[in-house]
């Protein structure tokens, strides 16, 4: 298969970037999208040119490192997977593919297609955990947890922090990411203890970092590689409302 690639090139965070066009030939349909970029890069190095930089690591859809916006969709045209799991059989032979980095004020471009997602770490640091320290915890089975709740919590916890939700949201909102973490803990007795403090701190940090506001377009859910549901956003709104209306300032 042959493809024409239009790729965003940007030397560093301060440089002004631009699109450049590349051609790749004889790509197998079983080749993954990132392997196709590897082939392009090998080719560029052979021609004594600079390769294209993009983030990637585990290449099995779990680390959340890969972050390409392909033909208007984060992680490309296939549903429910990351770009590293997507294969070229999803594209028509001879087609043009436009590859852009995640675009958001909170995710500045580092180089080419690499962006800085440390804003997500900062949101987690604001409260995305249970504040237990190592040791001195009760037996794992001391608190039974309804299977349905544990499963819902796991659904939310499956988030890989890739940022596709922010990338696809027309408002560059991080609500799906934040609500997934809030939900995971709000559903478990271990997380409930500090739920009020957590939701307020995480929302405040999210706002501070320049993410947009949610307008319920649900694009995030449609593009999430782990199919995280927007019901988590509703749950977070509920938690937030409860925390604000609660008598005591948390």
């Amino acid at each position: 298969m042959d493809f024409t690639l239009k790729i965003w090139k940007q030397a560093n965070s301060k440089a002004k970037g631009k699109f450049e066009t590349f051609k790749v030939k004889d790509i197998s349909a079983d080749c993954s999208f990132l392997e196709m970029l590897d082939i392009l890069n090998e080719d560029l190095i052979d021609k004594v040119q600079l390769p294209i930089n993009f983030d990637h690591d585990c290449r099995e859809g779990i680390c959340g490192m890969c972050s390409l916006y392909i033909n208007g969709r984060p992680h490309g045209p296939d549903q429910g997977i990351t770009v590293c799991q997507m294969h070229m059989r999803n594209f028509k032979n001879g087609s043009k593919i436009v590859i852009e980095p995640w675009r958001s004020k909170a995710f500045p471009v580092i180089k080419d297609l690499m962006v800085d997602r440390s804003a997500f770490d900062e949101i987690i640091q604001a409260g995305g955990y249970v504040s237990v320290t190592t040791g001195g915890v009760p037996d794992a089975n001391s608190i039974p947890i309804r299977k349905e709740l544990a499963d819902l919590s796991m659904d939310a916890a499956a988030c890989i922090g890739c940022g596709a939700c922010v990338a696809t949201c027309k408002n560059a909102s991080a609500m799906l990411f934040v609500s997934a973490k809030v939900s995971q803990f709000a559903l478990l007795p271990q997380g409930k203890v500090e739920a009020k403090r957590r939701v307020q701190a995480m929302v405040a940090k999210m706002d501070e970092l320049g993410f947009g506001n949610c307008t319920n377009t649900y694009a995030c859910e449609a593009e999430c590689p782990k199919n995280i549901s927007v019901s988590n956003i509703a749950r977070m709104n509920r938690e937030f409302l409860g925390a604000k209306l609660g008598a005591q300032k948390a």
Binding site: C31, I45, D57, A140, P144, M154, Q190
Partner: protein, 645 residues
Amino acid sequence: MTRLDSKIPEGPLAQKWSNYKSKQNLVNPANKRKIDIIVVGTGLAGGAAAASLGELGFNVKNFCIQDSPRRAHSIAAQGGINATKNYPNDGDTVYRLFYDTIKGGDYRAREANVYRLAEVSSNIIDQCVAQGVPFAREYSGLLDNRSFGGALVSRTFYARGQTGQQLLLGAYGALSKEIKKGTVKMYTRSEMLDLVIIDGKARGIITRNVVTGELERHFAHAVVIATGGYGNVFFLSTLAMNSNGTAAWTAYKKGAFFANPSMVQIHPTCIPVHGDYQSKLTLMSESLRNDGRIWVPKNKEDAEKIRKGELKPNDIAEENRDYYLERRYPAFGNLVPRDVASRAAKERCDAGYGVGSGLAVYLDFKESIGRLGKDVIEARYGNLFQMYEKIVDDNPYETPMMIYPAIHYNMGGIWVDYELQTTIPNLFAAGEANFSDHGANRLGASALMQGLSDGYFVLPYTLQNCLSEEIRVPRMSNDLPEFVEAENNVRERLEGLLSIKGTKTVDHFHKRLGKIMWEHVGMGRNEEGLKKAIEQIKELRQEFHKDVRIPGDMTGVNTELEKAVRVSDFLELGELMARDALNRNESCGGHFREEYRTEEGEAMRNDDEYKYVAAWEFSGDDKEPVMHKEPLVFENIEVKQRDYK
């Protein structure tokens, strides 16, 4: 004369750890904040250690190469984590987990370390549940368990097929809490390139900030290396693309001994290789072997027809299928340990019974779908089946999966004593980066256990024993000559690589190295092949240093330069692995020497001569390394031939 002191505490096995803890030295709270600790790596071992040490009040600096500590490759572990909770009441005890681990490791691990691992395993589950890790539960609301290879009890806790992710996110949460508090300072997108030694003790590291390209000097009273395994020496493996052996190799070259480097685990259930452009192999969790049955056609003609596409797997009648694991190992069946399952697959494929490209066997769920229903199978493995379908474009509910073994884990690693301290004072190694607990083969669901055990429950104690000596040592300046020299060495090395300006890419060399390793230092090894490999690697190394092409310069992002450093280290490490494999004239666990096998083709150990850990000491570039032996003493377990029949 050996310099190896494993510092195993006195007393009966079951009391060693508590004896150690009662007698060890501690650091008082006021002194803790005056002491700096560097932790390299943020996976289960590194992340858990950094968080726990931060909680204790030490001043921790934590480094990772990814953009966030949450992306360490521990995240990719699928199946589960072992613990001796005995919740199912099926007879599990600390001793049994200890026994299974030693036996699974083919009697090449240190008793005391393994017993401690089994002892703290239950604490890990308590800890993770308290952190909000959503483990799988039963309708009773209590935790669910599944069984795993190499064990007769159900002791594996899991969170769907994403156990590693959930445990890592638990540790990441704990780490984030400490970063917020200021006890841990996080350095992301930073790669350790050298270790700084002052007066014989590890006192810091040199890192390269991969965004700015700048070299940085970091001081600490002690350094922990938790950078995982070096399986990418094979190019194709289940490891992440950025996983590498450079931190460990740097430590080795600065004097830390490297133990059992050839002990590599080959995971039996991976998606088979399909092309030269392939960059990585995808693991299908071992848990699939709980319900999947592994087979190849009984007749060579059928296998040939399948390879040509003339027959489909479902065309092969039941009586013409060879469920070779169930046939050879009736007691454990499809749940034999990984090394046994991998070798059996290779044996069948080498004999001409392979399917797909010839290097694949079937993993079939038809029987369990019939017995349990599709819903149950989907609930258990839905995400794995989906992943398989996305990659292979084939529906595993209808046609059997194709699998083949792939490089997965390194049992070998930096030599450490009972305290996880290396042969360099104040340098520690944890998790997959050390060699300590798995002997010659690791059992499924034990890597997560070991990483978290080292990070949460071992290092926070043993490091203090070392650091109690350091309370009078003030923070040192980064401008000491040792730091300057180390930084200059790194700069020279990077400039040297950049100045080669050859004609071939880094990946070109990496792929060639991978082929040599897979062929000669892979699942089956022999003297001739290993000797050949050593020569070929030497030649390839020379060629690399003459002909590699790295575009760009030192400033800013330069991924080719990062890769070049790692591959140049792999080109040395690969040779050491071959030397270690050549030295060990026996077959044990993941190390299978074709010359040493029983008549039935099973691995044959040589306990009289090789019941030791081979710890290699660096003695200079292009000089042969020196091997030191740590004899293994088994006082609490009867050493016998592993038998899964």
